[in-house]
């Protein structure tokens, strides 16, 4: 803990509301290398409030990388330069003395900026509402192993389910495509027996809502996989595509 403080120049995106034009504002900070990225922003905000200035708006909740609330684009990379972590898990020791750090909000037409670094990601909630669930009658806890599921399949489903819905895939994609997120949510059910009854209806509905919100298409650049804090695999996108084609061939739905 005896490290010297790092002197950094931050260029933070400030935007009063959705309609206004934003701009970068510069902040010079001396920060401990042991500080987390969000703690550094907290410090700046304390300072700003002391001076009676408007603090920087950014989102965070659990601050241990499991809730998916935080999400900043740091020097062009969602969740910063270190792979497989969320912004809250990024520490200042990963930066060098004298660095200039650009902090931008997630940018996508489907994620309108609310204020500063905070964006409205409710489009992802609407996609979940369209099919990111299974319909079962609730009752008492089912017997363990009543439905046999091989370990590798269970693990694959769990890997897909580890998506925290942060939206970094959308932010990283040059097309602002939400395919990695949607495919993870499609896959976590598609792999398990409980997900089968609604399998094809689910993928049709979720893709339909995804398209309605104006997310882009997938160019297979795999930037999403590289930036995903949970390392969600693009194999899920392939699975979603397969299921989507099958849905189109099999279901009697003429609308979606």
């Amino acid at each position: 803990m005896s490290h010297q403080k790092l002197n950094l120049t931050l260029k933070v995106w400030r935007q009063i509301n959705a309609e206004s034009r934003g701009t970068f504002e510069e902040y010079k900070v001396a920060v401990s290398p042991d500080s987390s990225f969000l703690e550094m922003l907290d410090d700046i905000n304390n300072e700003l409030e002391r001076k009676n200035l408007e603090p920087i708006t950014f989102e965070s909740d659990c601050r241990e990388g499991i809730c998916g609330t935080c999400g900043l684009v740091i020097n062009g990379q969602p969740h910063g330069p270190i792979p497989r972590i969320a912004t809250c898990q990024l520490h200042m020791r990963n930066f060098k003395e004298g660095d200039t750090i650009y902090i931008e909000p997630f940018r996508a037409k489907a994620f309108p900026i609310i204020k500063d670094l905070m964006v409205d990601r409710s489009a992802m909630d609407r996609i979940m509402e369209a099919g990111g669930f299974i319909s079962v009658n609730t009752g008492s806890v089912p017997d363990g192993n009543a439905i046999p599921i091989p370990k590798d399949i269970a693990s694959e489903s769990m890997d897909a389910a580890s998506c925290i819905g942060c939206g970094a895939c959308v932010a990283a994609c040059k097309n602002a495509s939400a395919m990695l997120f949607v495919s993870a949510k499609v896959s976590q059910f598609a792999l398990l027996p409980q997900g089968q009854p609604e399998r094809y209806r689910r993928v049709e509905s979720m893709v339909k809502v995804m398209d309605e919100y104006g997310f882009g298409s997938c160019s297979n650049t795999y930037a999403c996989e590289a930036e995903c804090p949970k390392g969600i695999s693009i194999k899920n996108i392939a699975r979603m595509n397969r299921d989507y084609f099958m849905a189109k061939l099999k279901t009697e739905n003429l609308e979606a």
């Binding site: 970068f24 020097n75 969602p78 650009y102 996508a108 990283a172 997938c218 160019s219 795999y222 392939a238």
Partner: protein
Amino acid sequence: MGWLFKALNSSIGKKFVMALTGVCLILFLVIHLINNLTLYFGPETFNTVVKNLDGIKPLIRVIEVILGLIFILHIFNGVRLWIENKIARGTGYTIKGSSKNADIFSRTMILSGSIIFIFLVIHLRTFWMSFNFDHTLKESHRYYEAVVSAFQDPVYSSFYLFAMILLGFHLNHGFQSAFQTFGWNHKKYFPFIEKFGMVYAWGTALLFASIPIYFYFYGGK
């Protein structure tokens, strides 16, 4: 058939059209390349090949129309996706991190595709038009000599070369990308598809490019 139209115009459907037409064009390039490589066997072989193709012209015309439609679908959907995807991003980032998380081939598909399109137009003008509609050329059957003289132009030859390098870029991403879009990403087969696609892309590009280089420097002698 409204459902099919809707499906093919969804985000996944448009990519499916790109992938399917792309694979068709990949197969076309193989046939085109085999034909081109007969240039290396000398004037007699090449002129005979072109003459034989001329003999089955009605069939060739049908294939050309289908090929034209495939090209149009591929280009139309590619441009449409590019525009829609630009709109989906909205305001771009000040600092672009894309070089850190995606390779250059996948990020430049519209650019490589556009230049290949310009090349295609010029290419059709120089070779396809004259091979099909130039009466003096068709009577003399001196196709080989026409190719040789076209490649004596350093500007044309170097543009050809440049376009072929970009074709390599385009195919290098396009090949494996098509299979990913079809959903054929499998632990066992996908690494092979990626490697095969790379070999195909650069092999095709280099073999096509070798022709202008050879004829420019050796003039077919």
